[in-house]
């Protein structure tokens, strides 16, 4: 997963330098990523998903000057994808609650996004030990919430809250809001 952010970012940077091959490779790699992003959020509207994927590719292409080479690529990508989805709903005149970018980054796999900035161990080191342990147990070592609760001798809801709060903090950090 770590390679994905690095690979995408490398293609993006080369594309910005004028390398058309890298740019095409980037756009092709984004197709399955965006498909799963929209499918998960627009259940049952396959036609809309294809439209949104294409609109997002066009936006990635025409608005690539808005990408900051020093910041994670996927955060930029999902911010654009999220905006296209909000605009899509607006055109359809329906109101749908859309998650914050922070929640999207977490939902799309936080390893993915944070790989750009730091490795997981270093990332977790900034959290409280309870939050770090809860995240490590449930998201890296693959324990269930019940198992993690038993191992740490705390309640299940405590584990869930620790994971939730820790993830919020991580997402903020991935986006560069916090040191």
């Amino acid at each position: 997963m770590q390679e994905r952010e690095e690979q995408l970012r490398a293609w993006m940077t080369d594309g910005l330098a004028g390398d058309a091959g890298a740019h095409a490779a980037l756009l092709r790699a984004l197709v399955p990523l965006l498909q799963s992003f929209y499918r998960r959020r627009m259940r049952g509207a396959e036609h809309d998903v294809e439209d949104l994927v294409q609109e997002t590719l066009i936006a990635v292409h025409t608005r690539r000057a808005s990408y900051d080479r020093d910041r994670p690529f996927v955060a930029w990508l999902y911010a654009i994808a999220r905006y296209r989805m909000i605009d899509h709903f607006r055109r359809q005149r329906i109101t749908v609650p859309v998650e914050d970018l922070a929640d999207i980054l977490v939902a799309e796999g936080f390893e993915d996004a944070c790989a750009a900035r730091m490795d997981v161990a270093r990332l977790l080191s900034g959290l409280s030990s309870k939050q770090a342990r809860a995240i490590r147990d449930t998201h890296i070592d693959g324990l269930s919430v019940a198992e993690a609760a038993q191992a740490a001798r705390i309640g299940e809801s405590d584990v869930k809250i620790s994971v939730h709060r820790g993830m919020k903090l991580l997402a903020a950090r991935i986006r560069g809001e916090r040191p």
Binding site: L27, R28, E50, I58, R63, A65, D87, L101, E177
Partner: protein, 213 residues
């Protein structure tokens, strides 16, 4: 259109994007609008005849420092909001510094002036038109910034519109200083700020419609 075909046609046109393309584009939009605003100022209002003398005085530099520092903060905010993953701008309180400094100077001036002259000092010669002139002069710069945004990706449209309006207003006020002969701090604090705030308000109002992409 098939997605593969779309990608192929997009990949046919891949110009290099310099590292500071975003800043360059915003600077270009501001410069384009600024030229028109300056031309408007010279044609319709004229540069104050005593500009050279005024530039040796405190009041002129007080005004310029005030409007230029607002402009700098607003431009930085505009550049940030031009990116889709814009971070919340927690440093916008910096805008309060020039306002408070100017208010401090204003209080000092009031203390040195007999209170029967306060009203005249506050209203100056041009309080009725000053905010509207600033707002009018801001429009070309605002349009220039809208052009800049066309290749950028603001996602918080109201905030982006407000920041662009604020930047346009503050830059327009800086240019307007070349015409306006008013000297008191409370005049600038009230009527200049009102004009700049109106420009920001217009930006916030039209942002969600005009900046959509």
């Amino acid at each position: 259109m098939k997605t593969d075909d779309l990608i192929q046609s997009l990949a046919r046109d891949v110009p290099a994007v310099p590292r500071h393309a975003l800043g360059g584009r915003i600077a270009f939009g501001i410069a384009g609008g600024g030229v028109i605003t300056s031309a408007l100022l010279m044609a319709a209002l004229g540069i104050r005849p005593d500009l050279w003398i005024a530039m040796h005085g405190f009041a002129f530099w007080m005004k310029w420092t005030y409007t230029a520092s607002l402009a700098i903060v607003a431009i930085v905010a505009t550049m940030r909001l031009a990116r889709p993953d814009a971070l919340p701008s927690r440093w916008l309180w910096l805008l309060a510094i020039p306002v408070l400094l100017l208010a401090g100077i204003g209080i000092g001036e009031l203390a040195d002036t007999p209170s029967r002259d306060w009203l005249a000092m506050w209203l100056g010669q041009s309080w009725k038109i000053c905010p509207w002139l600033v707002l009018t002069l801001a429009m070309p710069i605002f349009v220039g910034l809208l052009w800049s945004f066309r290749r950028l990706a603001p996602t918080r449209l109201r905030a982006a519109g407000a920041a662009a309006g604020l930047a346009a207003g503050a830059i327009a006020a800086t240019i307007y200083c070349l015409h306006c002969p008013e000297v008191s701090a409370i005049f600038v604090l009230t009527w200049y700020s009102l004009g700049i705030a109106l420009a920001a308000g217009v930006g916030a109002l039209v942002g969600p419609r005009i900046l959509r992409w």
